[in-house]
Amino acid sequence: MKRLFRYRIILLAVLLIFVSVGILYARSPQPSWKLAREAAPSDLLTQVVADNFHPDITVDAGQMSVLKLQQAGQSQPLYLIDARLVDSETQPLCGAAGCAMFAYIRDQSVFRQVLATYLDPHLQPGQTLLQPTGDLHQGLPTLVAMQLVEADLQQITLAFDGQTYVIDRLDYLPHE
């Protein structure tokens, strides 16, 4: 009888763990990069093209990648935009500096650019180019960018200063 009771307790504990993990996972789904046409409003994509591409270039902005961030406590969504076109032979905003990355927030009826930079997308397997940290600063998520600079792996933390994203911290990480 005592043994049966012990088994029940163990079973209950295992069930509790599964349920807790399930709830936590459901509450904080990991944001993921999606095709822009699926994750961003069309007026944002129109504006991104107008702001950042040469007028003579025809580009399907829906082929870009977007990470929509809306964390707990965040006043409004932040749209991170990777200007690379998925499954495309040509990349109009990639050059020797890397590829263009943008971030936008809604500002009344239009969108406001709060980050415009070039990042070199070449990283070692397992490293992520640009991602949120989970922290908020001035109402928007803090971001972490990784860059290989010759033999160094730089981790650059970017925080919103109320107007734009600025570098908040610079770390060098061991690699290879």
Binding site: A100, Q138, L148
Partner: protein, 610 residues
């Protein structure tokens, strides 16, 4: 006997004269030799030899020796207007560095702007309660609006909780109004009296000395870059900053590159030295010397055997970038950067007789823009000399990262599909096709060589035999960055060039299999001339695009530069900046298809502002 006192007087006078002459402050060149007493060093063992290196854990801006000569920079009126403040500076011999250099000068090197006052106080062991607000230079030009932007919690405080701002409000409001706002928060006051937001702390004048830094809650926790025009603050204007060791900076100084041995010290009578390892970022670090070539000859590593590091006391080279590159006539002393871009190390006094050499360091001014502001670039390194380490023959010194010498005579392999017409493009004697449309100079001014023009677009910052780590771009392209121009091994054109070499296919297979590749292997499969050839093909395609946009001459060169760095879809008014806010593409005033000096014109400033 009266003769003896007279003799005594003469002897005394003579002794005094000798003593005075002996102790007279020596000539500038000699004074540099005292630097070693001031520069703490640390020893490092290399090949069973000791090399002395600066001990960055003890060195600070505050304990570096002072400047040894006068200098100035007069900012043109257009720059002052575009920035809203005067960039001009003057300095005199004997002045300490921290009163001349500003935070903005190190925006992309030491990243001083990431510090907040608490970080600095921890390192410098300061009590911020004991430091007057007046000691923070940038406080004087912060308006109430600026402070509320830099310190987000400030707006929620009642005015009396922020004594300096309460004093400021008192100084501009009538007593009747003061009574009405005393219970309001700053945000409420500013929304009721919008003009008040534009009042600056500087209006308090001497009163600022009566408040402590901690009298503005949150001020010491805000990063320096949060404050308006933070970059215009001198280093001395940030309490404690000049006591922070260089190895505790946000981006600390470190040791990188090769160590060389000083073989022989040569005086300025030397001429015609071609095998140098000195120069500048814009010109590269193999700038030859024609006359007055005092130098040290190096030995040790095979790459350094017989190479000359020319004295910057005798040779100047082109320096700087962007609009500010025109300062000091566009010139800086020749030298190297073993400790990065924060300052330049220059060989200074060369004493051939005693076999000794002194070094000096030079700083520069920068006005970086970032992603949303004009990037005026940096002046040449001309703020100096600051005495640094001295050495003797046979001693070792840090030379820094080495570049491979340009091998213009290297044969150019032909890849499948690449015609001999294209291969001729790599030759110095025949300009590349894309250059024909750019070279529109008057015959009298001459035309630049292919290499010189390419160097304007792609400055030679990386070794020609560089082999990067195995990386992927997130879009299923994986490989290694190869050579001076970072050609990726997965590019079909690059693969074709490598495969055309004996053993090239095996070399590629090893790259694809993520096997270790030594730098020395690269020149056999992708020599510098081939790298330049591929770069020229890339630039030719971009030039054709720019021509279709109706551009020519310098404007075309600027557009090619922009397309190269930012991609073929970039708008003409865009500035390509990396994550550090450093502009990579440059505007036409920095580019010239003709070998003529740069000038600071109103047009160029407008371009930079764009």
């Amino acid at each position: 006997m009266r003769f003896i006192p007279g003799l005594r007087h003469i002897l005394l006078l003579g002794l005094t004269l000798i003593t005075v002459l002996w102790l007279q402050p020596p000539h500038l060149q000699a004074t540099l030799n005292v630097a070693d007493d001031w520069i703490p060093t640390t020893a490092m063992t290399w090949d069973e030899q000791y090399v002395r290196l600066p001990d960055w854990s003890q060195l600070t801006f505050g304990n570096l020796p002072p400047l040894m000569s006068d200098g100035s920079f007069d900012a043109p009126e257009e720059i002052i207007q575009s920035l809203g403040y005067d960039l001009s500076r003057q300095w005199t011999a004997g002045q300490s560095l921290e009163t001349v250099l500003k935070l903005g000068d190190f925006q992309t090197s030491l990243y001083l702007q990431l510090f907040n006052l608490e970080n600095i106080a921890d390192i410098a062991q300061l009590d911020l309660n004991q430091i007057a607000l007046e000691a923070l230079d940038l406080a004087s030009w912060q308006t109430i609006e600026d402070l509320m932007a830099a310190i987000p919690t400030l707006g929620n405080l009642v005015i009396d909780q922020v004594p300096p701002l309460a004093a400021l409000v008192d100084s501009v409001m009538t007593q009747a109004l003061q009574a009405t706002v005393s219970d309001l928060t700053l945000s409420e006051i500013v929304s009721q009296f919008p003009d008040l937001a534009q009042e600056s702390l500087g209006q308090l004048g001497d009163q600022l000395s009566q408040f402590a830094l901690t009298d503005i809650p949150g001020l010491s926790a805000a990063p320096l870059q949060a404050f308006r025009n933070w970059d215009n603050s001198t280093l001395a204007g940030v309490p404690g900053l000049t006591s922070v060791p260089f190895d505790q900076m946000p981006n600390p100084l470190s040791f990188t590159g090769a160590i060389g041995q000083i073989d022989i010290v040569f005086g300025p009578a030397e001429t015609q030295r071609q095998q140098t390892v000195s120069g500048s970022y814009p010109q590269g670090f193999q700038v030859s010397c024609e006359q007055d070539c005092g130098h040290i000859e190096l030995t040790g590593l095979p790459e350094l055997q017989g190479k000359q590091w020319i004295s910057g006391q005798f040779q100047s080279v082109e320096g700087g970038e962007g609009v500010l590159a025109a300062a000091n006539g566009g010139q800086e002393p020749t030298g190297r950067h073993p400790f990065g871009e924060a300052f330049k190390v220059v060989v200074w006094d060369v004493d051939e007789g005693n076999g000794t050499v002194s070094t000096a360091i030079f700083f520069r001014m920068c006005q970086r823009g970032g992603w949303f502001a004009p990037d005026l670039g940096c002046t040449p390194y001309f703020i100096g000399p600051v005495p640094f380490l001295t050495y003797q023959e046979t001693e070792f010194l840090l030379v820094g990262p080495l570049e491979q010498t340009v091998a213009s005579s290297t044969s150019l392999p032909l890849a499948a599909g690449v015609t001999s017409e294209h291969s001729a493009a790599a030759s110095e004697s025949s300009p590349a096709p894309f250059l024909n449309s750019i070279n529109t100079c008057q015959p009298a001014s001459g035309q630049m060589t292919t290499s010189a023009l390419i160097d304007q677009i792609v400055p030679p910052e990386q070794k020609a035999n560089f082999v990067g780590p195995f990386v992927c771009d997130g879009q299923r392209n994986c490989g290694r960055s190869l050579g001076r121009y970072g050609l990726m091994s997965y590019r079909p054109e690059v693969r074709a060039l490598i495969e055309s070499q004996p053993g090239g296919a095996d070399f590629l297979a090893r790259i694809d299999a993520e096997e270790a590749i030594a730098d020395e292997e690269l020149p056999s499969f992708l020599p510098l001339a081939t790298q330049q050839h591929q770069l020229q093909l890339d630039l030719t395609a971009l030039t054709q695009q720019a021509q279709q946009e109706g551009l020519a001459g310098a404007a075309l060169l600027e557009r090619v530069n922009q397309l190269y760095w930012g991609g073929t879809g970039i708008p003409t008014e865009a500035i390509v900046a990396d994550i550090h806010g450093k502009a990579l593409s440059v505007t036409s005033e920095s580019l010239s298809p003709c070998p003529s000096p740069l000038d600071l014109s109103a047009n160029s400033l407008e371009e930079a502002e764009r």
